[in-house]
């Protein structure tokens, strides 16, 4: 009986630790999100919401990256080699 109790307590303790860790990480994640960055002070956003927004934001970032890379490649294709080299050097900075 007591063993069971102590075991559950222990497990809850370990899960509490990881829970705290994850909460910190989610807070960090939240601060990276432009939509949730401002609401951080007013009210606590649920972890699920943060994760959802993170997913959406990452998708947006992916799209952005794709668009930008497309445009860049287009631009690079349209520009002479000197300027392309310049841009490449800028991008690889």
């Amino acid at each position: 009986m007591s063993g069971r109790r102590s075991r559950s307590r222990q497990s809850s303790g370990t899960s509490r630790i990881s829970e705290d860790q994850i909460n910190d990480l989610i807070l960090k994640l939240q601060q990276l999100l432009p939509e949730l960055r401002d609401s951080r002070r007013s009210d606590k956003v649920s972890a699920a919401r943060v994760l959802q927004d993170t997913c959406n934001y990452i998708r947006n970032l992916h799209r952005e990256v794709d668009d930008l890379s497309e445009r860049l490649s287009e631009l690079l294709a349209n520009t002479d080699t000197a300027q392309a080299a310049l841009i490449r050097s800028l991008l690889t900075q």
């Binding site: 990276l32 994760l51 990452i58 668009d67 349209n78 310049l86």
Partner: protein
């Protein structure tokens, strides 16, 4: 617990041997046995323990034979009790903890009602009816010892006070530990009450009353604990007569005979207990080696065991519910449900996030989130860089002059923006104030809100994008005096100035998608 167990055992012993602990102990090594028996009762929560006990009983059979000679009933008791001693000690603390729970649930009163009805119906000899046949058998078979037992009973009467005390203690225990199976507790309480009466009456009226009391006690004990061994014998002939009367009375209640007891037990106890009864019977049948007495005793004991097990069942149920935490458990269940839902949602999104993050094989949530954060940062940086590159790119495009004009205005207003981040106002909201700062010059109105994603195939959009991206980059060529802060840009792009200049000069012909307003602004700037 200790109190309780010893008391109970003593009662049984008293019933069995019609003697107090001292005589019994001297006769046999029952002291530990009694405790064991109690242990069996209390500790029946764990079925394993029960099984062990039974096994022990089997093993112990041979050893118990000698005591039989003197006391026919005790041997089975010994068998039961001795082996479980270790268990008793092992589980003592836990038992105490359980016992202290004040559970007075009425759920488990079904047995108690039955018992009570029988008891109340014929308090003097109601249970005796059930025991009657058995007792008679015992008397017939074990006639010789009767005299001794009577003697012992007298001794018991002499020693009555301690018994009363024990009963009191048992009562106290019962009240203090209601978590024990309901029926037994009440039984014990009645028990004690009767005993107290008995003691009082004994002191007043003397021996005859004592015999009555003994009979009562024995009957009660038999009914409740199903241990009906030698009490009848102890009571003596008068007790037998009384019992016969009692049997007549009780016949209505119980129907008469040992089988009645069994029936009562079956009805009282739930189905599981009935199963247990069956198992116990099988065990008992195996054990039926001794004489008829022992068989009868075994039967009785069997019944008692069944009752005990039923009690234990009740106790188990009570202890499960009865941690006083039924509400808490319910709330915990609700909480668990909602928590599980929340967790499921989070896990689901975690999985989605994991799919979005390349090369994320981490199963650990924390490391996965870490990776997600890093990945997001890297993505943002990448977009910064790419937009910077895009910003650099427009310089080569025709129509750059507009940016140059705007850049000039900005440069006039704000000569020292952080160079590395200036080109990407949309990327870093912290840099947002930049357009507002340029507003007085009229160039800020040109900046549209950042719009991602932009389709590169759309030239006008691309144009606007470029506009957003690099207002400052276009600055240096036209107004070198303001470009000191942007030296790094010039250094980085040594080839830029000429095209800018060219484009600026050739602005009218090269402008592709510039709006009239922009052109006006540009003209103004160029003029200025």
């Amino acid at each position: 617990m200790h109190h309780f167990v010893p008391d109970f055992d003593r009662d049984d012993d008293y019933v069995n041997s019609s003697s107090l602990n001292l005589p019994r102990k001297s006769i046999t090594t029952m002291g530990g046995d009694d405790d064991n028996d109690l242990m069996e009762l209390l500790w029946h929560n764990g079925q394993v323990v029960v099984h062990n006990q039974r096994l022990h009983h089997h093993n112990k059979k041979p050893s118990s034979s000698p005591p039989k000679m003197f006391h026919p009933p005790p041997p089975p008791m010994q068998q039961q009790q001795q082996p479980s001693d270790q268990n008793l000690f092992i589980h003592e603390d836990e038992m105490t903890s359980w016992l202290h729970y004040p559970l007075r649930d009425d759920n488990d009163d079904f047995c108690s009602d039955l018992l009570f009805s029988s008891v109340s119906a014929a308090p003097t000899a109601p249970c005796v009816t059930a025991d009657r046949p058995m007792t008679s058998q015992a008397v017939t078979t074990a006639r010789p010892p009767v005299a001794e037992r009577q003697m012992t009973s007298q001794a018991v009467t002499a020693e009555r006070p301690p018994v009363a005390e024990r009963q009191m203690t048992s009562q106290e225990v019962a009240t203090a530990k209601p978590s024990l199976p309901r029926p037994p507790v009440r039984n014990f309480m009645n028990f004690s009450r009767l005993r107290g009466d008995f003691t009082n009456g004994r002191g007043e009226s003397g021996q005859p009353s004592v015999s009555k009391a003994v009979v009562r006690e024995s009957t009660q004990v038999n009914t409740f604990a199903a241990a009906a061994k030698p009490p009848a014998v102890v009571a003596g002939d008068s007790a037998l007569l009384r019992r016969t009367d009692g049997t007549e009375k009780c016949s209505a209640v119980a129907g008469g005979g040992l089988d009645l007891k069994g029936k009562a037990v079956a009805t009282m106890t739930t189905t599981p207990t009935i199963e247990i009864l069956g198992t116990s019977t099988s065990i008992m049948s195996k054990r039926e080696i001794g004489p008829e007495k022992t068989i009868v005793d075994e039967r009785k004991r069997k019944e008692r065991e069944a009752i005990d097990e039923a009690e234990c069942r009740n106790e188990n149920e009570e202890t499960k519910q009865g941690r006083g935490s039924t509400k808490r458990t319910r709330a915990a269940e609700v909480h668990n449900l909602s928590e599980r839902k929340r967790r499921d949602r989070i896990n689901e999104r975690m999985k989605a996030l994991q799919e979005l993050i390349p090369r994320c094989n981490k199963s650990d949530k924390a490391s996965m989130l870490d990776e997600a954060i890093e990945y997001m940062k890297s993505l943002q940086l990448q977009i910064q860089m790419m937009s910077m590159g895009c910003g650099v790119m427009p310089m080569m495009y025709p129509g750059m002059q507009q940016y140059m004009a705007m850049g000039m205005g900005m440069g006039m207003n704000q000569p020292l923006p952080p160079p590395s981040f200036m080109p990407f106002p949309n990327m870093l909201p912290a840099q947002r104030p930049l357009p507002t700062q340029t507003q007085p010059m009229g160039g800020a109105s040109v900046f549209p809100a950042p719009q991602y994603p932009v389709h590169p195939s759309d030239p006008s959009r691309l144009y606007t994008q470029n506009q957003q991206c690099n207002p400052t980059l276009s600055q240096p060529p036209q107004y070198p005096s303001y470009m000191d802060p942007y030296q790094q840009f010039r250094g980085v792009h040594p080839s830029q100035p000429p095209p800018f200049q060219n484009q600026a000069t050739s602005y009218p012909s090269s402008s592709r998608a510039s709006s009239s307003k922009e052109s006006v602004d540009q003209e103004n700037h160029t003029k200025g």
